[in-house]
Symmetry: C5
Subunit: 332 residues, 5 copies
């Protein structure tokens, strides 16, 4: 018999449920016996288990080789696959990290049978304790089997996308404000790119789940009973809301990029006009002063008593007049 | 027994209908009794009800938990969900605010059973009184049950999109006029962005309703009788018109953005050409005046009697000739 | 009995047909009687009828309220709707106006039953006389009932799209020629936008008809007999040709816009290079003349006998050499 | 009886086949008699026939009016239409014209019955002789009827697209080389547009054939026997290859256009920087020479013995230093 | 009888399998005899075979003409075609060439029957030895017939796409870093184009395999037994991951191109502003020095004792002040 200590390494929770109520924690060795009981199911939560543990779990629940192989490798795409009567589900979890101002992504693999749910967490995800407690608060639904536990898990995963999405929405709003106040610069352009990249990452986590939820709602096998299906539809509805928002943001971000290009063009026009305008104003003294710098013998103005101040003042006045004119026509 | 006063808080209307005619207002407590009668239905209109009221309504009509939960939260996406024999529908309402020159959006949740219609209004929507009166004017259709009342509501909601759409069309027309008369500037670029954003918002309100209407037309359950279906097809037709117009506007707006970029380029060319042209003209006196500012001992022109005026006049003539030439070749 | 005069207000034609041959004009009052005869049908053509006339027509043919309501309102989208055994079809008609160089759009609503065809014309459309005469020339087909009359109408409407399309193709060709000869300017950019807008309008008239024709070809009801279906396939084929051409033009127009942007960039490069080139050439005399305008005591060149002409000639030669070099490297 | 001479006008070939072998040329008048024989079929090839000939052919084979009407008009879109037991197929043929460096397009209309194949060539297409000889080399397949002859024709038409496609690929490669070596100029931009246009034309010829081939493979009618279907799948495979290549080229061409825009921007930057750099260098002598051109009484440098050469050399050195600095920082 | 030597020319492996275990190498001539045995299958691996060999192979396995014809020609698109009971599959193989820093592509054609698998390698592909050994390590699965061998092959081919993909991802990361640090230049723009081209090539290799895998999973024929299907789903999952990544990279690359255009615009603004700023600063001494270069009789400043240094210092201070102001407002 394996001592409990050793088992603890990768096991977060291993609980037995009967008629929707938790009957207590059990050991891995007791699982096969429990699985034979009617109306009972096992909820096993693992966190980055080692290979030995996964082998024991595979034997306990008779999991398919390919699914277990996948569960070892990270960077799976979210998906659901049926192996005989059981399901293998890959979820990508997201957590908003306030200090780093980025989202951290993790992965969870779920094995679902008619009397067990095994979840395997990888990477920067949160514990599923809140989801478990929430589902235990509704024993009449949990009594329908582990599919309601799966709902609780998926609902928790999807709800954790919202803070990330909302942080991205804030960044898009800031970006807009920046671009329309200060114009498009190097930083805002880079921020557009980075935000785009992060939207794509979130989208790759959430979009495939739409198919997963739809399949869970319409599944022919008896794993998800009729009374639980509306709950998956609820998750699907949240996912659709997330993906709608992501699509909108993608579209707006593409428009922001084009708009920032247009604004850069407008700004370029303004700068060139200003350059041309000031060049025109400065051309006046340059030409006039050049004129009276010529060395002709007979240049009567040079000998006038007030010639110098008159010319300087006249030049100045012409410059002022030109300035005002250009100002009015929008060149300065 | 609850006094009528207290009830009034969130209740706008609570009327009983029999054979398509309104038989009078009733109290919440009398609803269960009325629901048992043949050919009768209840039309209950709520405005931002509190939780206590919603609970009582849920009990009266035996509404599903998930639907009632959704009805509490704002910012749902428009959708229709079937819970057993009843339907839960989310609509987004739009109202054009002339003073603020923007559209205000609200939300309405509708619960539809074979003998009741409960509408829950949130936010900046208008009262459904006109829709109710309109439907009461056609008792032969209202006699088919609450599905005709649902049509009246949806028709009213969709008809209220048209003024918003038409205001956006006006803004697009103005934008075009601005860009083709005055060229693309900062303001018009920002207006393109803002209009785009508002089109996206309206689209998110109206597009999902297309699916809702299609489903209502083809629904297998008996909630919408055959004779009422053409009315939902009529709403669908209006929605298609709105979405077609929105698509067209989106496409034209994208083209406006590209065109304004092209115009900015054209304008930039003109400005640079003007800059180059004037620089060329001003180079003439600069060079000539510089020439006669040199201090060589032997510069015969300097000693000519009319040297000074001759040079000035010659320079001026060359400038005029250059100006005319550049004007003709389109550089000025 | 209504006198013929009054009836004439909105009635263009009201003819009875039997076995594919026109048996004569009839009055509205005689229609119900005629509809009871086997193998006969009524072809009623209206032009902007008033409400009273429409009501009488509705009674004659027992038309659905919603369809008649639609037939009053302009700006419907092209569509086909079945009301019981009858069909309601909305067509957008186009007419190329050579003097105004734009297309004028109108609307036609058609009610089709197994023994009647009612067409209601609105706006700038042409009379359907040619279509009627063409269909009367094939009595063996017209004997199949009013569906062949519908074909004649739709064929006529669709054939009238071709001159409009062809005018747009000419404008696109001109646009191309303009842009590749003279470069993209303000006018060509505006023309791109305007053409785009008109393509979108034509597309909104013709694209929905594809669905209408497909439905008419595959319709389960007996309104369109087997032998007439290939004729609707022919109309469908024309529509597909129009929509293919429109798609191609849209794509080419988008490319024209991008190409004109690229050409503006190329042109901008040329202008800036010319500006830089001339500035370089003019810098030579400016610097040289400035050099000999200095007031140093000891500047030997100033005292040379041919100093002045030598310097001027040397400067001129340097300018010429620079000009030739810049010309060769493509900067001028 | 019509003399052979007259017939020849539009008839390229009129041959009878039995059990997959050509039994000899026949006259139009003998066709009806031959069509009555079992296992025999007629292969009739026409080139731009006049109306009289088409009428006789129509009578011989009992062709549908609409199909014959189409066969007269040019500029049909490629398509397949079933008229009763027979098929009407429109193909667009392409031929690469090496001297003109463009593709010439023609049209072929094919009527296929269970015992005849009539092909009508229009415009710049090649003779189908090679296709006919190739099919005659496989009598065991030709014995299945005229559908194998149709395969031979379509295979020939589709194989003639490849040289055109390959010529376009060469042009795209040249375009790339041009743009990345010399930068985007007026000519390359125009070439992008022209190539785009020609790709669209080829696409309009080849894309609709995908549907035609798919339909021929899956057709319920017995015109194409099971053993011939893989041959049409082979044509379909070639078409898919062509359309894949066209799609790739379209995408790359769009990218080329954007890249050429980006390169023009980069080039513009370089030119403006060069302009700014040289302006900075030339500002040095301008300012210095202006300084010593001032007429102050007390300017000690002017009276230094080596003042003039010292200043000139110092100015020159500053210019050189500035040149080297700007060179290093990439402004020149 | 053909001697073994001659056979070797194009044959890499020719092995017989029974009950999932390799029973030994055999000669081509022994194949027909072996194919008659129950539970046995032949695995024949060819590398660029000559025509004579292919003919013998065709006879051995009774392969279809069209498939063998395709197997001769290179540049097929990946596809699967059924010929009676057998399948013909075209795969494109990719190998990352570290020294050349590009991917080399080859082609493999596979013929699959219920008791044989023939693979024909062309071009720069790797040997399938590792795939064969891997499949031999699972005799219980190989016992299901050659479909598991096909899985091993496809899995090997698809796994070889990952290093290529990963090299492209590195290049995209480098590109991003380049553009955001140094700005978009000629090289980065060309690299964008080249990367785009290579992504398209990889996509054309991997995308059609999605359909091939889906078809293999759902195939009605008995070639792929139920227990092997999850393995093809695994390959499909890898392919989906590859295509998702390719789509993301395409999208990001398009954004990189737009962003680089925006950055070029920003940079252009900066350069023009710097040009304008320095021109403004240099205008001060130009104007002042021109002023005191005038030859008026009465210019009191010229006679001041400290006139010259005062003016020079004042001019310098104004320039410094202007420099600081322009620096603060972001023009320098």
């Amino acid at each position: 018999m394996t001592p409990a200590k050793e088992e603890c390494a990768g096991i977060v929770i291993c609980a037995a449920y009967a008629d929707g109520r938790r009957t207590g924690d059990i050991k891995l060795d007791d699982i096969p016996q429990l699985l034979r009981r009617d109306g009972a199911f096992v909820w096993l939560g693992l966190y980055e288990p080692d290979e030995a543990l996964m082998q024991r779990v595979q034997q306990c629940f008779d999991l398919h080789d390919l699914a277990v192989e996948d569960a070892h490798k990270a960077h799976q795409r979210p998906k659901m696959e049926a192996y005989g009567d059981s399901l293998f589900i890959v979820l990508r979890t997201a957590r908003w990290d306030d200090s780093a101002e980025t989202a951290a992504y993790g992965e969870t693999h779920v094995f679902l049978g008619h009397n067990y749910l095994v979840s395997v967490r990888h990477g920067a995800s949160q514990t599923y304790r809140p989801a478990r407690l929430a589902s235990e608060r509704q024993p009449q639904l949990l009594a329908h089997g582990p599919s309601f536990a799966l709902y609780a898990l998926m609902d928790f995963v999807v709800d954790n996308y919202f803070p990330v999405l909302s942080a991205y929405e804030d960044r898009l709003d800031e970006l807009e404000a920046d671009i329309f106040s200060g114009g498009a610069d190097r930083d805002s352009t880079e921020e557009i790119y980075r935000l785009k990249r992060e939207l794509v990452t979130l989208r790759r986590a959430s979009l495939p789940l739409v198919d997963v939820c739809s399949d869970l709602m319409s599944l022919r096998v008896a794993l998800v009973p009729d009374s639980i299906r509306p709950y998956f539809r609820d998750v699907l509805d949240h996912l659709k809301r997330i993906n709608d928002t992501l699509d909108t943001m993608r579209e707006m971000l593409a428009t922001v990029l084009q708009v920032s290009l247009a604004l850069a063009s407008v700004r370029q026009n303004e700068v060139t006009k200003a350059l041309a305008g000031w060049a025109a104003i400065l051309a006046v003294p340059t030409v006039v002063f050049g004129l009276y710098g010529m060395n002709f013998d007979k240049m009567p103005e040079l000998h006038w008593h007030y010639g110098y101040p008159a010319i300087v003042v006249a030049t100045f006045l012409v410059c002022v007049w030109l300035y005002l004119r250009l100002k009015r026509t929008g060149w300065l």
